[in-house]
């Protein structure tokens, strides 16, 4: 490099950047992206919103716009008319199934999370076998389980074959979430507890579970929602009694009144309620421990 290398100046157009607050206009790219996002949100929630709105029509209401009147007639109809199908039974079965699935998923994921912290022989194979059922198409998996039950001469019911089919979906999910949660768990917490005189069981009860609780609630939430609205894995495995998604599906085939929409509104509200409660619980736990995990 020669000592007299000329100092290269940028062309004149590279002006000084406007200082903070000097220029409050947004660049044109902001408006393009904002429009794109608005369209996305509309496509995502618009159709659902139509169903919720149409469910509040009165007796004259039909399945399409325009809206005719305003009442809660179809909600009453939903729970009183027999012709709309076994909504109440389907709802109960789906809730109970989701609860069983949630409990088993939480317990299974938690134990798997603990086990996979150490390497063990064949851990890779176990892991991929577990993840494999996530990739398998749900409908095919459901048919397989249905066939197996038939072959074994067992009746397919929502609390046996459907439960298994749902677990094949929720358990791998739960385990993956648990792995992410566990990765932030410091082993020295356990060692410290042991050092201070805690028994193995006390360590789990007083240290591991409380610290992991927000993650465990997240796994529960996953398990519940995945099971509650599962259709393809339930189709061939629930036996003679329908779960709620199956009931709704069969209603779309033979019910032509807005009570179908009312059902959509009610189930959505139920889902939001459960999710809301779980999120509130997580938020409270997070708030309580403030900026703790440093």
């Amino acid at each position: 490099m020669s000592a007299t290398a000329p100092f290269v100046r940028f062309p004149a157009r590279s002006r000084r950047r406007p200082l903070d607050g000097a220029d409050t206009r947004r660049p044109w790219t902001f408006w393009v992206l904002a429009t794109l996002f608005a369209l996305y949100v509309l496509a995502l929630y618009g159709p659902m919103l139509c169903i919720y709105v149409l469910s509040f029509q009165d007796l004259r209401g039909g399945l399409v716009f325009p809206m005719k009147g305003l009442s809660i007639h179809w909600f009453i109809d939903l729970f009183t008319q027999v012709r709309t199908g076994d909504v109440k039974g389907g709802f109960e079965r789906s809730i109970w199934l989701a609860i069983f699935v949630t409990v088993l998923t939480v317990v299974g994921s938690f134990l798997a999370g603990l086990a996979f912290r150490n390497r063990f022989k064949g851990d890779g194979i176990v892991f991929y076998l577990m993840i494999g059922s996530l990739v398998a198409p749900g409908l095919v998996l459901g048919i397989g389980i249905g066939l197996l039950f038939q072959y074994l001469g067992l009746p397919a019911t929502w609390y046996t074959s459907a439960l298994g089919a749902h677990l094949s979906w929720t358990l791998p999910f739960g385990v993956l979430v648990m792995f992410a949660v566990m990765s932030r768990f410091d082993r020295s917490w356990e060692e410290a507890a042991l050092d201070l005189g805690a028994s193995r069981w006390q360590i789990i009860r007083m240290v591991v579970i409380p610290i992991l609780l927000p993650g465990i609630v997240a796994v529960a939430l996953f398990g519940f929602t995945l099971s509650y609205d599962e259709f393809s894995r339930s189709l061939q495995t629930s036996g003679p009694l329908n779960t709620l998604p199956l009931e709704i599906w069969s209603m779309t085939l033979n019910v032509t009144s807005p009570s179908l929409y009312a059902l959509g509104t009610v189930t959505t509200l139920a889902s939001f309620l459960i999710i809301g409660v779980c999120l509130a619980a997580i938020t409270m736990m997070q708030k309580k421990r403030a900026r703790t995990i440093s």
Binding site: S188, T292, S294
Partner: protein, 366 residues
């Protein structure tokens, strides 16, 4: 738990992880109530020894005695040791009071009883106002005091500290160092402290144990290890010494002459070592603060050693001036000069100087 005494004895303690030997046959006695520092670079096995004393790791071979009783295989509680982890390992979901009371909780004490004891302990470490905070809301120094209180509440006979000051900034480290020593005096129990910081070890410890590659290189009082290093490794690791390598020219009575490049010849006291003869390669050490620099031509008295060299860099340190010299055989060669002396006739970088010291102050290393 036959004896309440916290003296520790390691006898041939050996630990292997797979193919690597972490601790290679260590023998050591730590008296009851001593402050002992294990000092060494990372991977030298010092933390492994600590964890074996704590019971979080089992030795592959050898015996660990606490209070005269072999504790290998016993859980930490029965050893009556308590460990303070490098990350402090405070439970994030429990308040400061609940953290400190945790050992009492697992022992089945009721809430009123354990809070009473915990509050007394919190007072000792001056954390009473923070009792209801969560660990995440505390500074590093406060977290450390909580960890200390939690470990001490079990009334252990040995407290094990794994790099307790490494997570703190410089100023706080010096402050907490004093605090640790104060706590140790107050509790009157044995402290084993693992560190890679030389200054920390010699400032705190009654007994400094210098380690390298799973072996103890030297164990002794801080002053002994610093001023009388046994070999080149200890001298270089503790710092404060210049190590010069050379060949023995001649042995005359109580001294020997060492030839080194750039030096006429260096006289070293033999200090009872009679197995050395001319032609042997030896290392010798001279303290950095024993060196005096003279300008060329200034006569050197009898009984002084001298080395011709040149000043490479000068660093002002406040209390003294650190002058880095061109070393013999490219080794580090540094003089610590008293600040006032230096500035009466300051040297400049690049000056040719004669580094001199009293021959008696040279130390022959093994």
């Amino acid at each position: 738990m036959t004896d309440g005494k916290g003296d520790i004895e390691l006898a041939g303690v050996y630990k292997r992880f797979g193919d690597t030997i972490a601790v290679d046959g260590v023998n050591l006695k730590v008296p009851d109530g001593a402050y002992c520092c294990f000092l060494g670079p990372s991977g030298c096995g010092k933390t492994t020894i600590l964890r074996m004393i704590a019971g979080h790791e089992d030795p592959t071979g050898g015996e660990i005695l606490i209070g005269g009783e072999d504790v290998v295989g016993l859980p930490p509680v029965e050893r009556r040791t308590a460990m303070m982890f490098q990350s402090y390992a405070l439970f994030p979901h429990l308040t400061v009071r609940d953290n400190v009371a945790f050992p009492l909780r697992v022992r089945g004490l009721d809430k009123a009883e354990r809070y009473k004891t915990a509050d007394e302990m919190l007072e000792k470490v001056r954390l009473t106002e923070l009792a209801n905070r969560l660990p995440g809301q505390l500074s590093g120094g406060q977290q450390q005091r909580v960890a200390l209180a939690r470990a001490a509440i079990t009334e252990p006979r040995v407290l094990l500290l794994d790099e307790p000051l490494s997570a703190l900034d410089e100023q706080l480290r010096i402050q907490m160092r004093t605090e640790l020593r104060r706590m140790q005096r107050e509790l009157g129990i044995t402290f084993i402290h693992v560190t890679h910081t030389q200054l920390e070890a010699i400032a705190l410890a009654d007994l400094v144990v210098v380690m390298e590659k799973g072996r103890i290189k030297q164990a002794g009082a801080a002053r002994e290890v610093y001023a009388q290093p046994r070999d080149k490794y200890v001298a270089e690791f503790l710092g404060g010494q210049n190590v010069i390598s050379g060949k023995v020219q001649s042995v005359n009575g109580a001294t020997l002459m060492v030839a080194a490049p750039d030096a006429k010849s260096i006289v070293v006291p033999l200090a009872g070592r009679h197995s050395i003869s001319s032609g042997d390669s030896v290392d010798l050490a001279v303290r950095r603060d024993d060196l005096r620099l003279r300008r060329p031509g200034v006569p050197v008295e009898a009984g002084w050693n001298s080395v011709n060299t040149r000043i490479r860099a000068i660093e002002y340190q406040g209390a003294f001036v650190k002058v880095m010299l061109e070393g013999v055989n490219d080794a580090e060669f540094v003089a610590y000069l008293p600040e006032r002396d230096f500035f009466t006739d300051p040297f400049e970088v690049g000056d040719v100087v004669v580094a001199t010291w009293v021959a008696e102050q040279s130390l022959l290393l093994s």
